[in-house]
Symmetry: C2
Subunit: 383 residues, 2 copies
């Protein structure tokens, strides 16, 4: 299944020794053609990693033949040397694969600000080129950092398919969850359709995932299409499949978020615009007091009001309603009888906030609780 | 010391039974005149508590004779009943003290969305009126919620003084830390000077304190001045004393923040405006990954860059510098040798970020780390 299921895609994974743990830490995805259509969506962070810079350049002509991945080192904030290292890595891959370096993208994930161990990386590239095959699962495992499980997806069309892999557990925020995602498809699809479908799907999936309000320097979602199936799906069909693949991966990312014990879906309505609703939903999704309450299965709706009251959104401060798992806990900014007894002990919590203006703006974000394990995982990551 | 040190101020504290713990939960501060000058700064949250609404009305004429405090219940999000309860409480105090109800402010802190137990409150008001005396310390204790220590301050002028008490440990954010503060002074000071001095001091102290990005529905800082000393300090002298009192209380609030193990001072410079610098400093101060790293004494400067890269501030993404406790850990967006070895094991951590534009904008915020205890305290507050 996953990225090597569509025709004409190969993958490889290896352990280059970038990670101190000795787990697999490099992967290569190769498109064998006949077409090399590529679309990409990147982090909005103005501090972005060298491989992001390189991949944006490579994708400028809408064509990619291979993507080189590594985990354990983000190659971010390494200055000019970082960029030279990214270039050297893709040059090595180009030589090993016999394809132009201008058609090889790169994605890195891991610690920020550590020089790339290039001796290890270059040996890894050669091993990857020799090990290409139906290794989608191994590649998905090799891009993991603090992920506890690999994330893969397969969406089947009629005579074509989309495969995907993803990683990401923390630093998931507004512009893309923090993550690397690679989608492959053997459908025949023009580059503009591919880019539009990917952007649209990201907006509705990864961009609604806000785990800790932090945005990575490395976020990259790539879609490679080779037309090997000879099938040209309709735009609607193709967009639906890309959306389904991204949605499935986003669910997997949320479920494996650092320290997650609750999956929290926040919907805001009753404000003027969708953008305002999104502002309010994100403000709530990032509120630590609210997130701690979710961890404690505590229906402390007052924190919902305190959080949304600070959001940049139109609201009627005395006409706000809040629902937990469909039960009204606050109406007209006042608690309902029994509001404290709502059962939030399950893993999934639905929060609906109506800002009371009667306006049409609505938006949804997904987040997680703030748990002891989140603090534990993130208090000593670099050491 | 504290609020009953300046001449002509009395206070009382009692246990009304609002808190399940049985700790003191009501206080009263009375200004005996001859003047009843009052200044106030309130939460910017659009969802604000009934006592905030009431106190704003009472302060509109710049005159206050008494302030009624309770802890254990915020009287926020209780609808029209909440406002009626706030009014009934101050009416009871007015009757007991023999002063106009229009001169009695009210401040509440505690759980949001619980009806006020008015039978207990009204008994408490009578006990307070009977117990007035030099009880500043008892009053400071009675307004505590999850505070572990009471916060008091005394600033001496020549022949006059300012006393103060404060509470607040969580939900401390942009517009005031979440807190109640009462300052009393026997200086002779016109209401406009008092208001200007208080606003200025709040901007430089409480408004720079951002513990968890959350802003309370109840934040209220009041300054009462009665002129009992007969001394008219100069504006500069008075402003300096108010600033000192607020600064001291803000330090105490930061040191007692929920779950705090580190006091983190973040300074941002090298951007176009002070507002941009503040945006960047707050973005960093609220970044959970950064805050977890501080908890772990981990000099993970990459998270500083990832956080400020998302801030609404002018920057040169490849020319950012970061200093931990005065040591450069990142220059030109690249790690320095030894950056990982900087010692952050002490309680106080200074972070300086230069966004590299050469612009004059600079700002400072104070925050804390994100610890296990923060999660523990906040995961079951209402239950």
């Amino acid at each position: 299944m996953s990225i090597t299921h569509p025709q004409g895609f190969l993958a490889a994974a290896t352990t280059a020794g970038i990670k101190p743990s000795g787990n697999p830490d490099m992967a290569l995805v190769v498109n064998q053609g006949p077409q090399f259509v590529a679309a990409g969506v990147f982090t909005r962070n103005r501090v972005f990693a060298a491989p992001v810079k390189l991949s944006k350049q490579v994708l400028a002509d809408g064509q990619v033949q291979a993507v080189l991945y590594n985990s354990g080192n983000a190659n971010a904030c390494n200055g000019e040397q970082g960029y030279q290292d990214a270039v050297a890595s893709t040059e090595a891959a180009a030589a090993a694969l016999g394809v132009p370096v201008s058609d090889i993208a790169a994605c890195s994930t891991g610690l920020i600000g550590e020089p790339m161990p290039m001796d290890k990386v270059l040996v890894g590239v050669d091993k990857l080129a020799e090990g290409l095959g139906d290794n989608g699962h191994a590649a998905a495992e090799a891009i993991m950092t603090t992920d506890t499980v690999s994330k893969e997806v397969l969406v089947r069309g009629e005579g074509w398919s989309i495969g995907g892999m993803g990683k990401g557990v923390g630093m998931m925020a507004p512009s893309l969850a923090t993550m690397l995602v690679c989608l492959t498809t053997d459908a025949v699809v023009p580059v503009d359709i591919a880019q539009a479908a990917l952007q649209k799907a990201c907006d509705l999936t990864f961009n609604t995932l806000d785990i800790d309000g932090s945005t990575s320097t490395n976020d990259t979602v790539l879609l490679l299409a080779n037309g090997a199936s000879g099938v040209s799906p309709s735009i609607a069909e193709f967009e639906a499949a890309v959306l389904q693949a991204c949605s499935d991966l986003a669910d997997q990312l949320q479920s494996d978020a650092e320290g997650v014990t609750k999956r929290v879906k926040i919907t805001v309505q009753g404000t003027t615009t969708a953008e305002m609703a999104l502002n309010a939903a994100r403000t709530l999704g990032r509120d630590n007091l609210f997130k701690c309450a979710m961890f404690g299965s505590d229906p402390n709706w007052g924190r919902v009001l305190a959080a949304v009251g600070m959001a940049d959104a139109d609201m009627e401060p005395e006409n706000i309603s809040v629902y937990f798992n469909g039960e009204a806990v606050c109406e007209k900014t006042t608690g309902t009888p029994g509001a404290r007894d709502v059962d939030l002990s399950g893993v999934d919590i639905d929060v609906l906030v109506d800002l009371g203006t009667g306006g049409p703006g609505t938006a949804m974000v997904r987040t997680t609780d703030l748990s002891h394990e989140y603090v534990e995982i993130n208090s000593a990551y670099s050491s």
